[in-house]
Assembly symmetry: C2
Homo-oligomer: 113 residues x 2
DNA sequence: TCCATAGTTCGGATATTACGAACTATGGAA
DNA sequence: TTCCATAGTTCGTAATATCCGAACTATGGA
């Protein structure tokens, strides 16, 4: 288990962010991490909505979010805590994350949530 | 050559938009279409920056943008004209497209344009 | 009718993604 | 200490998507 790679904020690419959040599962995970009191550990999300996500897929989703520069993961004892890198990303790409998250919210609102 | 499919604006999904624009080539094409006096036909973009994009790939890029609900394509004589569906998308997902396009602009700005 | 232009479709090589099974790391209990 | 439970990663492979050259289709002139 090699240590995690977290890109420096200057080398975070818009395409990586869009790609990471173009998967609805990942977007939901990230939106949850962004919320105050949101998911911090991986296992806390093992079922998202009504869909069960296998551990290995989940692990990969967190990796994609991490390598896109969206979250920072650090081990605390036996578990992993994931924090959003919102303020950093906001400085580099103002308004981007908020627009994406509210787009998903608007969509789930519209489609009979 | 079956007629093009353009999704109704209500059925445009955020994930499709993010996926379409998570490819830098497509994002550049779309940004150009968005600009007043931007690219209208497909062949007008055959070289983007210094990279040559094959016709078939280009055709596919336009298809992805179209099916994501980002552009509307219609034939005019021998060529295809592509218009952005900006105002429609803006109503459904306010601020999304502007944030994405300016994120790419900020990035190319920063990385020695 | 024939040709040039503009773009699409097909097909196969290549790259990504998904997920079960096996593994690693940490903390606590016996 | 040893053993177990928890939390998560890595590996391998099957399914899926993407890229791009070659062949095709559609339209408007000469």
């Amino acid at each position: 288990m090699r240590p995690f790679f977290h890109p420096a904020i200057e080398s975070v690419q818009p395409e990586a962010i869009l790609h990471a959040l173009s998967d609805p599962n990942r977007a939901a995970i990230f939106a949850n991490i962004m919320r105050e009191g949101g998911i911090k550990t991986c296992s806390a999300v093992s079922a998202l909505g009504d869909r069960v996500i296998p551990k290995s897929s989940l692990s990969n989703h967190f990796k994609v979010l991490r390598e896109a520069g969206l979250i920072r993961s650090e081990r605390h004892g036996v578990e992993m805590r994931n924090h959003p890198r919102w303020t950093e990303v906001e400085v580099r790409f103002p308004g981007l994350l908020a627009a994406i998250i509210s787009a998903y919210a608007a969509d789930s609102q519209a489609s009979g949530e």
